[in-house]
Symmetry: C2
Subunit: 297 residues, 2 copies
DNA sequence: CATACTTAATAACTATGAGTTATCGATTAG
DNA sequence: CTAATCGATAACTCATAGTTATTAAGTATG
């Protein structure tokens, strides 16, 4: 007494319900007929309900049995689907990844990643959020993001960092600027300009790199404005409120009326890195890293 | 190896997924911690997927485990519902009953039955079909109906019959008939009338009863018309094409312009019976019979 | 930093019950 | 009638769920 209903019972029940013949059902299940009889009987006792009429050489479903047959088919099928899904999730073929990024990553790296992800794993969903370097670090270490695209030299313990994109810097000038057409020779010419830069808070590495660029040209830049949005920076430049130095990739993807001059001769590069928590086991994460690292996006 | 997934696994998994603590989960399940550990491990082997991360004193769900937790909750709940439904069907609280009836049963007995059924078992559905006595017998013996309302004296082997309603007969006269107002004294006055009756095929018992009523009055009726529809009979009477003798209950429920005279003095009665197949196990049937027999509809 | 107290996993064992073979009684077909 | 076939029952056995005892590893506590 007080047995528990098990999936075994359902499979046995379904076989009998389909064959309406104990011996045949038992054969199909590769068990003996008495064993099957016993299990069905036990099942009826557990449910306190007779599921088959077996009078006079005939096996037939009761009303309750007829209902249960459909339910069992549904449950067993659902179960099978769930098992498959579990494996697919474990393989990272199905799932979700939460991505943080700096606005400047949206020009090149992110669209490429999303495209490849979509092609190779159409059932992976992405959750994208534009955040500062610091906010990404925080979100990742507290498991609110799986992966981040940052401009940082290093990350805290327990996190990994891989460079994924190396870009030149470009000078951003108003269209009517004296140096805008062929006049530009070198950074030295800019010592008296006022600069519009991304905030130091938003991206210290960027800020420090720009400072080092100016330092190499032997001046300390006058900083008139700071912003966290490329769009804002371009607008300010457009309105003659200063000039900017930004990663070259930013010249695509914005509506603006400014002049870009790529600074190929200076050694500094804008490096975008992907970061993630070392112990993050989201199987989708692995695919993303693989795509980013191996496929040279 | 090659174990099978069982409901036990799901229940154990859910306990651990909720507690995130093996010992506590084991306590909740009233089993030992090592037993639980073993079963979860087995489950992971069956699914070929790790469901928990258990590094360093911490138990946490993997992505696959997180998904599975929701699925398991759904499945276990669905299972519980199904079990309850099965019992309710077996108890006849939920289900369907297919009812056949003579048109004349629709005046009294059927509406009463449906009303009580609806009140006591709101989840029982009924399937109603107006059929002749013979058609009901056939439908019931071939399991196309569960129950029938007939006017018959006996039924074939393997079927049961219970009288459920006893009605007087009434004379049906055209409004302008000589006997329509107070003129009627007894059946003897009708020996020269022509009669409109229900077909012998449709209801032999009715037919024979009417014949015996006339016989008691020492005449053999002249039959001008036969029909299977009360409506038709009334229309023919209304148009002076004859007179009729029908169960009194039929005077309600039809639009007609005829005179009913209840024949209380003759001994014959129109008896409506309910019939069903003895071995019909539809649990709803039992309720219907109970309602009809015990509650004196 | 040792000590006491967690935790989950492992090992060895037990005993429950799923599934076995053999058989029965009932029904049907020939 | 006999032979064949059905599901149920009885008695058995053996796989395995769950046990106790223990270990290893981690975490507080003083």
């Amino acid at each position: 007494m007080s047995y528990r209903l098990e999936i075994r019972h359902f499979e046995y029940f379904l076989a009998v319900a389909e064959e309406l013949h104990y011996r045949k059902a038992a054969e199909k299940l590769y068990i003996s007929q008495p064993g099957l009889s016993k299990q069905i009987k036990q099942m009826e006792e557990i449910l306190e309900t007779s599921l088959f009429e077996r009078n006079k050489k005939k096996v037939a479903l009761t009303a309750a049995g007829t209902y249960l047959k459909e339910e069992v088919k549904f449950i067993l099928n659902h179960l099978e689907q769930s098992k498959k899904q579990v494996k697919r999730i474990a393989n990272g073929q199905l799932g979700e990844i939460r991505i943080g990024f700096l606005g400047s990553a949206m020009q090149e790296v992110i669209p490429n990643l999303l495209l490849k992800l979509q092609q190779q794993f159409p059932e992976i969903q992405t959750n994208l959020e534009e955040l500062s370097n610091r906010a990404q670090i925080n979100a990742i270490s507290s498991d609110r993001l799986d992966i981040g695209f940052v401009r940082l030299a290093r990350v805290p313990q327990g996190m990994q960092l891989k460079k994924v994109f190396r870009d030149t810097f470009s000078l951003v000038l108003p269209k009517n600027h004296a140096l805008a057409e062929r006049g530009f020779k070198g950074m030295e010419q800019l010592s008296k300009e006022s600069f519009i830069l991304f905030s130091q808070d938003y991206s210290p590495l960027y800020f420090n790199t720009v400072m080092s660029i100016c330092e190499d040209a032997d001046f300390t830049p006058i900083i008139s404005h700071k912003s966290v949005h490329a769009q804002t920076i371009f607008k300010l430049v457009e309105n003659n409120l200063g000039i900017a130095i930004v990663p070259t990739a930013l010249q695509y993807g914005f509506q603006m009326n400014v002049k870009f001059i790529e600074l190929t001769k200076i050694p500094q590069r804008a490096e975008l890195s992907v970061i993630w928590k070392t112990d993050n086991r989201n199987p989708v994460l692995k695919h993303c890293i693989d795509l980013l690292v191996n496929h040279n996006l």
